[in-house]
């Protein structure tokens, strides 16, 4: 039994309960907002009518989405799926905001329009970008003022960007490709940048058709989606487009042809890393593009193929791609060991395997870390993936090496277009691969885990993959910071 003490009695306010278990999604916003408005009004009028506290407990009788003012919801699809969509009204200046935070709008409201920029030196850091790391933990790549300036010079020379250009910004700016080769490229050269905050194939096509851009810079998946839509709707891209650039993941040769035919626009494939502030290699806009090639180094970048001892390899031989130039990072933030390992004689080791042909064009074959060593023999996952993708039933394939006891086994993860058995796929592989390259196991997936730029996240396919998004409970007694 509780004893009533004086202090408890003093604090025991009466609150009101509003109970509505069978409402709809709009109530989730409207009920508390109405009470809140009433309370604000009541406070202004010193009304005694207002309860000190209101408890609202509510549920919905139909499925619903409550969307902030900046979220795009497909209302047609919503009504097809019998789902209510309610929108939150845009908040004004002094509006509800999470406790102990500042609103950007309030912070900048009364501020001065002038600011004398703090001078920087070329070696000063401008940005730290965390790499998506398809195999390891993310590391912060240090990018200096000079890195960005050299990168802008390199791409400007190749793409000849002028204030007349209009560039589609569908690649996220938090990724180096969008930050450097779209945002910086556009604004440094006085062009205009068309912001696409949320990617959807239909949304991108609509933005392109309506805004008449001159440059579309995107990743292979987006071009593939665009191509599908163009073919389905029997459309061409606007004539304003003078060039499309694809990077971050390989674009299959037949896709390039199909896209150029359907869109009426040229598409160039390039290559870059966070460590090179995006593109360091591109098929020349005024020269020949080679299917499957990442092109030739951009101005200011040098690239070569080296063996494990750092010796340059002749054309045609596969080795690691190394790059140097003023656009190359100084290393990783807080990771001195990894920084040291990433360079050999001032050449940055990309971790990508590839070769150079006689005309100086570069080709990427695999990620070095992903090469499978089985019984002392090197196996290129990409080679196996390409064979699997050659099967009409296979949509995507990702091949990894997995430790099984003492030996390494080859596991292929595939998504399919139609029913196909593992046995059939193994047989298909045996037709074009040496026996030791044939997968030991085929695993069927609904989708492959991918990064925002469309790279398969192979680390997530490993058995010991730990979901980094989770927040786990700390063991009691550990007050330490990990």
């Amino acid at each position: 039994m509780k004893r009533k003490t004086i202090s408890q009695k003093e604090h025991k306010e009466q609150w009101r309960l509003i109970f509505k278990p069978d409402g709809d999604i709009a109530n989730v916003m409207a009920l508390p907002a109405a009470v809140l408005q009433g309370m604000i009004a009541g406070l202004r009028q010193f009304s005694s009518d207002v309860a000190a506290g209101t408890v609202i407990l509510q549920g919905v009788s139909r499925k619903g989405i409550l969307a902030g003012a900046d979220v795009a919801v497909d209302r047609e699809a919503a009504s097809e799926h019998d789902m209510d969509v309610a929108c939150q009204p845009r908040a004004g200046g002094a509006s509800l905001r999470p406790a102990e935070t500042i609103s950007l709008e309030e912070m900048t409201l009364g501020e001065n329009d002038e600011f004398a920029s703090v001078p920087t030196a070329p070696e000063d850091l401008a940005c730290i970008l965390y790499t998506s790391g398809t195999t390891g933990r993310p590391k912060g790549v240090k990018l200096t003022v000079e890195n960005f300036v050299s990168q802008q010079q390199a791409t400007e020379q190749a793409l000849e960007v002028t204030p007349k250009d209009k560039i589609i910004a569908v690649l996220p700016f938090f990724h180096v490709f969008g930050l450097s080769n779209v945002l910086h490229l556009g604004l440094v050269h006085g062009a205009s940048v068309v912001l696409v905050p949320q990617y959807s194939p239909g949304g991108l096509l609509k933005t392109i058709m309506e805004s008449h851009p001159t440059l579309v810079i995107a990743i292979p998946t987006m071009f593939v989606h665009l191509l599908m839509l163009l073919e389905r709707k029997k459309l061409h891209l606007p004539e304003s487009i003078r060039l499309c650039v694809s990077g971050a993941a390989p674009l299959p040769g037949e896709m390039i042809e199909a896209f150029e035919r359907s869109s009426g626009s040229r598409i160039l494939e390039g290559y870059g890393l966070t460590e090179t502030v995006a593109a360091c290699c591109l098929n020349p806009p005024d020269g020949a593009s080679k299917a499957g090639s990442i092109g030739v180094p951009l101005a200011g970048f040098k690239m070569r193929i080296i063996d494990d001892d750092g010796r340059e390899l002749p054309s045609g031989e596969v080795g690691e791609i190394a790059v140097r130039g003023k656009g190359v990072t100084k290393g990783y933030y807080n990771f001195p060991q990894e920084t040291e390992e990433a360079f050999k004689d001032k050449w940055f080791l990309t971790g990508d395997m590839g070769y150079q042909d006689e005309d100086g064009y570069f080709f990427v074959t695999d990620r070095k870390k992903e090469i499978i060593i089985k019984g002392g023999l090197n196996i290129s996952p990409r080679e196996v993936e390409e064979v699997l993708q050659g099967h009409p039933g296979v949509k995507e394939a990702a091949v990894i090496g997995r430790k099984k006891g003492e030996r390494e086994e080859i596991v292929a993860f595939v998504t399919t277009r139609k029913d196909v058995s593992a046995k059939e796929l193994i047989k298909h592989c045996k037709r074009s691969l040496s026996d030791f390259k044939v997968p030991d196991k085929i695993s069927f997936m609904e989708t492959l885990p991918m990064s925002v730029t469309g790279k398969v996240l192979k680390k997530e396919l490993q058995d010991n993959y730990k979901d980094e998004r989770r927040i786990e409970r700390k063991k009691t007694g550990t007050g330490s910071v990990d």
Binding site: L17, G59, A77, L104, F174, Y333
Partner: protein, 305 residues
């Protein structure tokens, strides 16, 4: 050709300042049917730089940015560079553990993020002593509701409570924990300012907001498993990143094998709030003024933009 900026080797900040003064009316950004000139962009970035400077941000400080491609990203990024600060943009799909590692590793003093990331940031804030300010912008809240699957518990309060935000988080966390206990959920846990979780999975979550002297505590309890697949038919999200958009979740039904009925939910919630806040609660209805506001807000919510 655009040889000028090439020869002088201008960086982003100097380029924007140059365009803003030589071609102030040429368009820098197109967004949502509107055009923003170089002059306006420069002015907005200046305001951000001034605002950040007032907060104590200076040369070499890390300013983390967790925003999609909206104009605010550009203002924040350019504003930070104008201060000589180091911008740390990162993926808006990242969740708790990933964000924590990046903010800790970079030692960011300020984070500029979307408003809807507030609960996630709240949860990891105690682990980030270097993070002094969280600046929020944009409105991309997304709340999913399903019949008998979600219970929304909202407290509109005035008075002393919100002067002690820490205390309010602690109280509400334990109210929700008590509710879970009464539902028979075993091993639910609450870390200060966090969500209510079972193992690493979210079972209830809340955020405290304020306007003037009034606080709104907004909580949602997952009673039954949410079919998030339904929602993705309405919001287009690339299939391979779908599972990254939604945090790992669980529900009372998944943990106990039984979905509580509304009658039980009501009783449990009222008791837990009464105990936790030491108040009495009586069922009531809305006042006339509130009803007028409510009708207006409802019609606004369903207005097609």
């Amino acid at each position: 050709m655009n040889a000028e900026s090439n020869e002088k080797r201008l960086g982003l900040v100097q380029s924007i300042e140059k365009w803003a003064s030589s071609f102030p009316h040429s368009v820098a950004l197109h967004f949502d049917g509107k055009a923003l000139t170089y002059k306006e962009l420069n002015l907005r970035a200046n305001r951000v730089a001034n605002g950040l400077q007032r907060l104590g941000v200076g040369k070499g400080d890390r300013v983390a940015i967790m925003l999609p491609n909206i104009p605010e990203f550009v203002y924040a990024f350019v504003g930070a560079l104008k201060l000589g600060a180091i911008a740390v943009p990162f993926n808006t799909l990242y969740k708790g553990g990933e964000i924590q590692r990046i903010l800790k590793d970079s030692g960011a003093r300020v984070l500029i993020a979307l408003t809807n990331f507030a609960p996630m940031i709240n949860e990891i804030r105690p682990e980030l002593p270097a993070l002094e300010q969280v600046i929020l912008t944009g409105e991309r809240n997304l709340v999913f509701a399903g019949p008998e699957k979600t219970a929304f518990l909202q407290l509109v309060l005035q008075g002393d409570l919100i002067k002690d935000v820490d205390g309010a988080y602690e109280k509400m966390g334990h109210v929700l924990l008590k509710i879970m206990e009464d539902f028979g959920v075993k091993e639910a846990w609450y870390k200060h300012r966090g969500s209510i979780r079972v193992r690493g999975d979210k079972i209830a979550t809340f955020v405290i907001s304020e306007v003037g002297p009034i606080a709104l505590i907004n909580a949602v309890v997952f009673l039954g498993p949410m079919e998030t697949r339904d929602f993705f038919r309405v919001l287009w999200i690339p299939p391979e990143i779908k599972d990254k958009v939604v945090e790992p979740m669980t529900s009372v039904e998944q943990e106990t094998g039984k979905r509580p009925r509304w009658k039980q939910v009501k009783k449990t919630v009222v008791m837990a709030v009464e105990q936790g806040f030491r108040v009495g609660i009586k069922e009531g209805s809305m006042l006339r003024d509130e009803l007028v506001g409510y009708e207006k807000l409802r019609s606004l919510a369903y207005e097609v933009r």
